[in-house]
């Protein structure tokens, strides 16, 4: 399984990511998920979220999750970008792509990846307001 992980303060460029995709002839399903910063946390309006990562550990934990996916589903590739630092409202903090032969495993692997990330990958949010 091809794996690509980026943890960076750069904005996520969906169009560029789509162009760089390479997939084999046997692959029939691509799923992309974007997690986008919403304009409120709880009831309070915010302008951005400041993401902090324990980067070295985050990379390791993402790697463990990718390995678990590779064991469980016939996924050809996973690409994941988590933006850190200040991410303004309406911009994505997370981009995940899973390429697989069929839709069910693409959906299952993508949801598994995000669920596991939310349990294990050491990244935290601090909401910012004006």
């Amino acid at each position: 399984m091809k794996m690509e992980l980026t943890i960076s303060t750069d904005a996520i460029d969906e169009a560029a990511l789509a162009k760089r995709r390479e997939m084999g002839d046997g692959m029939g399903a691509v799923i992309c998920f974007l997690g986008v910063v919403r304009g409120s946390e709880g009831d309070a309006p915010i302008t951005a979220i400041d993401y902090e990562a324990h980067e070295q550990m985050a990379r390791h934990q993402f790697g463990l999750i990718f390995d678990a996916i590779e064991k469980r589903w016939p996924v050809e590739s996973v690409r994941l970008i988590h933006r850190i630092g200040v991410v303004p409202v309406n911009e994505p903090s997370l981009w995940v792509e899973v390429v697989a032969p069929h839709r069910p495993e693409a959906f299952d692997a993508c949801q598994f990846l995000i669920d596991e990330m939310k349990k294990k990958v050491p990244i935290w949010k601090k909401p910012l307001s004006v």
Binding site: R59, H60, I123, W124, K125
Partner: protein, 81 residues
């Protein structure tokens, strides 16, 4: 021996620092270190039950025995995404 301890997210605010060093005896477990940390930083004691603990890049259980050179992280529930 000396253990490097890091606090992440609002645990750094609770502790008033991002990093510290704590001297422990051989055979000290992660749970024991956590107790020491909670004594030294009382606000962290309040969050004790929701604290996640890692040594290096891996989560470890309370009975993990620390070794010289270990870097220990304490942090609140993660929130990636």
């Amino acid at each position: 021996m000396i253990i490097a301890v890091q606090f992440w997210s609002y645990f750094a605010d609770f502790a008033g620092c991002k990093k510290t060093e704590i001297e422990i005896e051989n055979g000290t477990t992660l749970a024991k270190l956590h107790e020491r940390v909670c004594e030294q930083f009382p606000k962290l004691a309040e969050a004790k039950n929701s604290t996640l603990k890692a040594v290096g890049v891996n989560y470890q259980d309370d009975d993990f025995v620390l070794s010289d050179g270990d870097e220990v992280s304490f942090f609140p529930p993660v929130q990636g995404g």
